[in-house]
Amino acid sequence: MSGGGKWGRRLVIAVPNIWLILFFMVPFLVVLKISLSEPRIAIPPYAPLWDWVNGALEFNINFDNYAYMWEDSLYINAYLSSLKIAAISTLLALFIGYPMAYYIARSPEPRRSILLLLVVLPFWTSFLLRVYAWIGILKTKGVLNEALLWLGIIDEPLIIMQTNVAVYIGIVYTYLPFLILPLYANLVKLDDTLLEASYDLGASRISSFFRITLPLSMPGIIAGSMLVFIPVIGEYVIPALLGGLNISKTATGRWLRRWRW
């Protein structure tokens, strides 16, 4: 390779990495530095981590902030609550998403592509507006309550908005495509001959499903669940809009309330 090529190669390596170091790694070091500093009421609101005192470098590392986080039940409860909400919504999404992924994977070709497109399409529209749509449906005088009252199923409106139920509905709704796609990719590769053999040997549809399809689709289930579970832990917008007061229950909500930026 010529000398020019070598420099070109270095440039291609350097540019994206410098960007990431500057705007992704360094910010974390700043956070880490502040987390280890002693808080004080000044600008900036923390003591410097190191200082030149009489010509010697003096470090001033303090773990009080970490201890404080463990002592104050507020943070731990908020974190546990985030984990609980994420776990329950992932399970709910799995119950709704699995049959859909299975049905799409088993459909004949033209229909399969169209259904897959229908799953992906909502993802490209605004996430915020899809959450907003549920406010109109779930509120006390919303579409759902009016319809149920009209049908005579309930006598007085259900209170769903500003409860955990609304948060679960919103989360499952927005994250469903993330679960369906990896599951579909897994189920579509399922070998039909295994199921046929199982039927020939006298197994029922249900027992074939639980003993063949379900175990074979485990990688898809795990991948899809991770794609839902991990981002939901840090979710802020859905609890803020649908959960109302419950916003304070999630870790992110606690943060935003406590540190008024």
Binding site: N17, W19, I21, L118, L129, I135, I233
Partner: protein
Amino acid sequence: MRLRFTPVMALLGFIFLYGPIASLVIYSFNESKLVTVWGGWSLKWYGELFANQQIMDAAWLSLRIAAISASAAVVLGTMMAMVLVRFGRVRGKGLMSGMITGPLVMPDVIIGLSLLLLFVSMQGLIGWPSGRGFTTILIAHITFGMAFVAVVVQSRLSDMDDSIEEAALDLGASPLRVFFDITLPMITPALISGWLLAFTLSLDDLVISSFVSGPGASTLPMVIFSKVRLGVSPDINALASLIVLVVSIGIITAAILMRKKP
């Protein structure tokens, strides 16, 4: 005929996915201000939407940020993907692939907060960026956008046969020429989908933008969020319906174009 479990569940699932969108669109044509009281068909909320200067300004700002950040993210993300897939032995490759997947798994709140702290410290140290707004939002969006682009391009590059590129190199083409004449045309579909992904994510981002934005720079999601917190407002329904319309046309056109190709 026996009712089968899976098709029924799948149908209910699709109703669950599309019911809310349908109700948004239907109520955007509602004459009444009360969203649940039907007052007859009307286009009045679309008129109000276009008359609302705050929403129009925010939409223009968001579109500019999304277009610029997606384009920069495609350039940086493709460079990163080339380094990781095609450059052979490079020192620190593990760290690089860790850094590029970082923005994908890190919660938005943490990315936003740490970038805000960086911008504040940088302003104190070197006086740049002076204040927060367009530039800081742009930097934040390029950073997470390039991670998504890198993933898309990386998977395309590793599926691709590199013998054609090797043949061109053997025949004496320079690496730059090989990239622009061979690699680039072959990864164009990945570049387009990466650009669209970065564009959509930028247009949709609320949390990171809220952290790194300053007074005077409100993106569309920030304006929508502050309006929606106060309750349902029909002009937001009109805005949502327009977005659904544009996205559906775009996706369906893309699907038809892809199908025509062999």
